[in-house]
């Protein structure tokens, strides 16, 4: 009833904790059995270990938050050697590996390393991190650059690749199309929207990095609109995210065109958010007369 198929891999439900908001899973496994999740996307991983940006890295906004973590991670070697085995011990479902980079070579080398890893069902290639200079988002900013990363990654892995797109662009559909043309198996969107806050007390930006990425319920309508536009433009599956907080939001995202749904900031506010959405889905489906959740995908576009 809740199953969905993403690039040929079946998920028991469409709920996937989003990269950067769920660590490598085990913190949450202490709270509930994370095997109820459809999948999970682990923290954005780069070739080298990174501490990320100076703190403060977090600011509150109405109905949301800004973060400028800047891809803190132990590096691909340690992720493969230590984090992935620990994650596989507690999570037996398909894993989404989230990979970031600062050059085409780095993207390709990290993806090549993860290619042989058991349990990793998809590689989510982050070309949209707003929190790192000369990398990340720059690759997601134009169709040409997005195509170049897709091509580089496609050459080194047989696993399905899902390109994670930035909302900080004029025409997200053209970028999704460029990825599709170079052989992407899917796209995921949206990453965070670039924003900032200034403290009236200090009259200075709250975050040390000054700017950061906005996420949480406030971005939901923007994310939904972009999923809609991309659905109209491509034939590959879409992982929808941005502000998803309730089971109703999940259904709405799917109606806009999402095959599966990632949940980010909501996990930080309520560590049980994903569990609750999975438990609430059947009754929400009943309320709206939905027998099979996957029948909803793109449903709002037809008829």
């Amino acid at each position: 009833m809740l199953t969905t198929t993403l690039c040929g891999v079946e998920l028991k439900n469409p709920i996937i904790p989003a990269s950067g908001t769920f660590g490598y899973g085990y913190e949450f496994h202490e709270l509930y059995d994370i095997n109820i999740l459809g999948s999970l996307s682990f923290k954005g991983t780069t070739a080298e270990p990174r501490f990320g940006n100076p703190t403060p890295r977090i600011a509150e906004t109405p109905s949301g938050m800004l973060n400028s973590v800047g891809l803190q991670n132990p590096g691909i070697e340690k992720v493969i050697g230590e984090e992935l085995p620990k994650l596989r011990d507690c999570f037996h479902g398909p894993i989404m590996a989230n990979i970031s980079g600062f050059s085409l070579e780095e993207y390709a080398s990290s993806c090549e390393k993860i290619d042989g890893e058991e349990g990793v069902a998809w590689i989510e290639v982050n070309i949209s991190c707003p929190n790192v200079h000369d990398g990340g988002m720059a690759f997601g900013a134009t169709p040409e650059k997005a195509a170049a990363v897709t091509k580089a990654v496609r050459a080194v892995t047989k696993k399905p690749i899902i390109m994670k797109l930035s909302p900080n662009v004029t025409d997200i559909a053209s970028i999704a199309k460029a990825c599709e043309a170079e052989g992407a198996d899917g796209v995921s969107l949206i990453n965070t929207l670039l924003g900032m806050r200034i403290s009236l007390k200090t009259k200075k930006p709250i975050m040390a990095n000054r700017m950061g990425g906005l996420s949480g319920s406030c971005v939901f309508p923007v994310a939904l609109r972009m999923v809609w536009q991309v659905y109209e433009a491509v034939n590959i599956p879409i992982v929808g995210m941005g502000g998803v907080t309730t089971a109703e939001d999940v259904v709405e995202m799917m109606l806009a065109g999402a095959t599966a749904v990632e949940v980010g900031a909501a996990n930080l506010v309520d560590p049980f958010a994903c569990k609750k959405m999975i438990e609430d889905l059947p009754s929400v489906m009943k309320t709206y007369g939905i027998d099979k959740l996957s029948d909803c995908i793109g449903g709002a576009h037809h008829g």
Binding site: E27, F51, G52, R57, E60, I206, L268, P271
Partner: protein, 244 residues
């Protein structure tokens, strides 16, 4: 960590802009003094982290200062209000680090976690000296409560309107070799670190996304690698800090 609904039993003003709130609910996840709770407030997206001042089998006492919208909301909440809290977060003070006596230093609203710590140390039969620093007489709180526990208490105020004029570093005891525990504003913590060295534990603050280790929002570099203030902290051994 436990997530639950906690009911306000009392919520009273105890100093200028400072309130003491007692919540009732499940406290089984609290394992050591110096841990904190993370409170969800109406209309606020992120939770508010507040130190556990004291706890019993079914109550938690917190002391907070009104500094912005969230804490201002808390100050107006009537008895009976229910709050969604994450309880028993972080790694607190290790009472085993001190031997027969301990020096506790609290600055402003860094004082609350010192109370639960003093209680635990005294229960272990240790001699406890508490040094409290405030800006002014109107800001002073909990002096008598520490005394009632059986601790030796000395207060300093920056303007001299109560106790000794100056900062907690101006009222340090002769014997500086005793293990210390402290929480307060960063300039105070750094002054203490300079005066007393690395034989102590220091509680830090950082802006938090989650409070339970998931977002990397609160990371800090130390001599022994990256640490999360919310998970490996908020209390850290002074000797791992990069404060030299």
């Amino acid at each position: 960590m436990h997530k639950g609904i906690y009911t306000i039993k009392s919520n009273i003003k105890i100093a200028a802009d400072v309130y003491e709130m007692v919540l009732s609910g499940d406290t089984s996840a609290i394992t050591m003094p110096g841990q904190f709770i993370n409170i969800l407030l109406p209309e606020k997206y992120l939770r508010r982290p507040i130190s556990i001042c004291d706890w019993s089998e079914d109550t938690i006492t917190i002391v907070y200062k009104v500094v912005g919208g969230g804490t201002a909301q808390m100050a107006t909440m009537p008895v009976g209000t229910e709050l969604d809290c994450l309880v028993g977060l972080g790694t607190g003070f290790d009472t085993k680090k001190s031997e027969t006596s301990a020096l506790l230093l609290g600055g402003g609203v860094g004082t609350p976690p010192m109370y639960g710590l003093a209680k635990a140390l005294l229960r272990e039969g240790k001699e406890v000296t508490v040094l409290l620093g405030f800006n002014s007489k109107d800001d002073v709180f909990y002096q008598e409560k520490f005394e009632a526990l059986g601790a030796k208490v000395v207060v300093a105020t920056a303007d001299g309107s109560f106790g000794t004029r100056g900062f907690v570093t101006d009222i340090l005891p002769e014997n500086k070799d005793v293990f210390y525990y402290t929480c307060g504003p960063i300039p105070m913590l750094k002054a203490i670190y300079k005066a007393l060295g690395t034989k102590g534990q220091i509680s830090l603050e950082e802006r938090m996304g989650c409070g339970f280790g998931a977002c990397m929002g609160c990371s800090m570099q130390t001599k022994v690698g990256n640490k999360r203030v919310c998970k490996e902290g908020p209390v850290f051994d002074a000797d791992i800090l990069l404060w030299e």
